[in-house]
Subunit: 217 residues, 2 copies
């Protein structure tokens, strides 16, 4: 294969990864909106679209493996492919967690809500989505310093997690009608927190892509 | 590098991966035992040992990437390395979840227990550990058929998850003193269920290793 043809394939891979990332980010956003606005139709959409996310991961994995096997790339080219190969799983799992949030939305059957907690979950969702988007931007710009910075934002998510957990538990103790709903709130914030973790993993792969170093951020 | 020397490195990588797997399996086992026997010292051990698991993952990733870059392996050799590169993250996350269970153990501060649920969590933990161990055995034996079979066991874990969740919620509704503990039970079973998912991912990589096919089990 000609060098230019290989470069074209590499560029395509890079763009497809980014495109998968934006779709996953949209899924996270939709799942949180569906949850806080009790929109079961929107939640169903998230569940349906997950197959596309899974298909994209499989496609990226296959393509990456094929390029490594057939082209035997080195240095930055190899790192570009490895990043896609590794980080596509992180994206896929963010998508899985969006589905879990969507399923929690569908589970809620008119039970007692805790409005103050739902408002907080909405904020936490926005925060997590902004971290996912910032990570994807750092990826597309190949900005390792920015990736390191974004990884540190995860602390605010953990803080939100702790606060929402406490508020939910207090509400559950005060009114047992909120116990089932509260359980779904607790699940949802675990999933959001994990999505933040996966974004951090993506940041680690951006650092690797630019520097060749495996780091733990 | 001589072919035999490369083969030796490959074999070493394979063994190191398996060794990381057995350590992670031990961490899962310990975390569940600590949780159900309220053993905070044992939980602390799990948290301390996690650094070793993380270090092993980093080492395996570095070694895999180095071998791909320097040796440009093909076919089964390449797949062996790719499997380690990808599945080491699954092992590392199983370890993370063992830590989360250990943290839940430490959080529990003499709150009201629900003994019947703890017995079930113990069983679920054993089930998950047996799936992790079976996956590792399938890996070491390179048995793709067995890997496919093991992946299907995940259904029983999901069933246990549903049952324990319902029992926990009922107990929380009946006695609000159990709400904080119940929350930790709910978290613990999410983590166990996720560990089962990661074992399923490992099974998918075993199928790839033997057949070259990317599958979703």
């Amino acid at each position: 294969m000609l060098r230019t043809q290989f470069e074209e394939e590499l560029n395509k891979l890079h763009n497809q990864f980014y495109s998968m990332g934006t779709q996953v980010s949209a899924q996270v956003n939709k799942a949180v909106r569906a949850f806080v606005s009790h929109d079961r139709d929107l939640a169903e959409e998230v569940i349906e679209e997950d197959q596309q996310v899974n298909d994209q991961e499989t496609k990226l994995e296959k393509k990456s493996l094929e390029m490594i096997a057939l082209q035997q790339p080195v240095s930055h080219d190899l790192r570009t492919i490895i990043t896609v190969l590794k980080a596509s799983s992180d994206l896929e799992r963010m998508g899985d967690h969006a589905v879990s949030i969507a399923k929690a939305t569908i589970n809620l059957k008119g039970e007692e809500r805790i409005h103050i907690v739902e408002a907080d979950i909405s904020l936490m969702g926005e925060r997590v989505k902004s971290i996912v988007d910032a990570s994807l931007n750092a990826y597309i710009q190949g900005d390792a310093d920015r990736a390191r910075e974004i990884a540190s934002w995860d602390d605010t998510v953990n803080q939100m997690y702790g606060e929402i957990q406490n508020k939910t538990l207090t509400a559950m103790e005060e009114n047992k009608e909120t116990i089932t709903t509260g359980k779904d709130y607790l699940m949802t914030i675990i999933y959001l927190e994990r999505i933040g973790d996966y974004a951090k993993n993506l940041c680690e792969w951006i650092v690797y892509l630019k520097t060749g170093k495996i780091v733990e951020l």
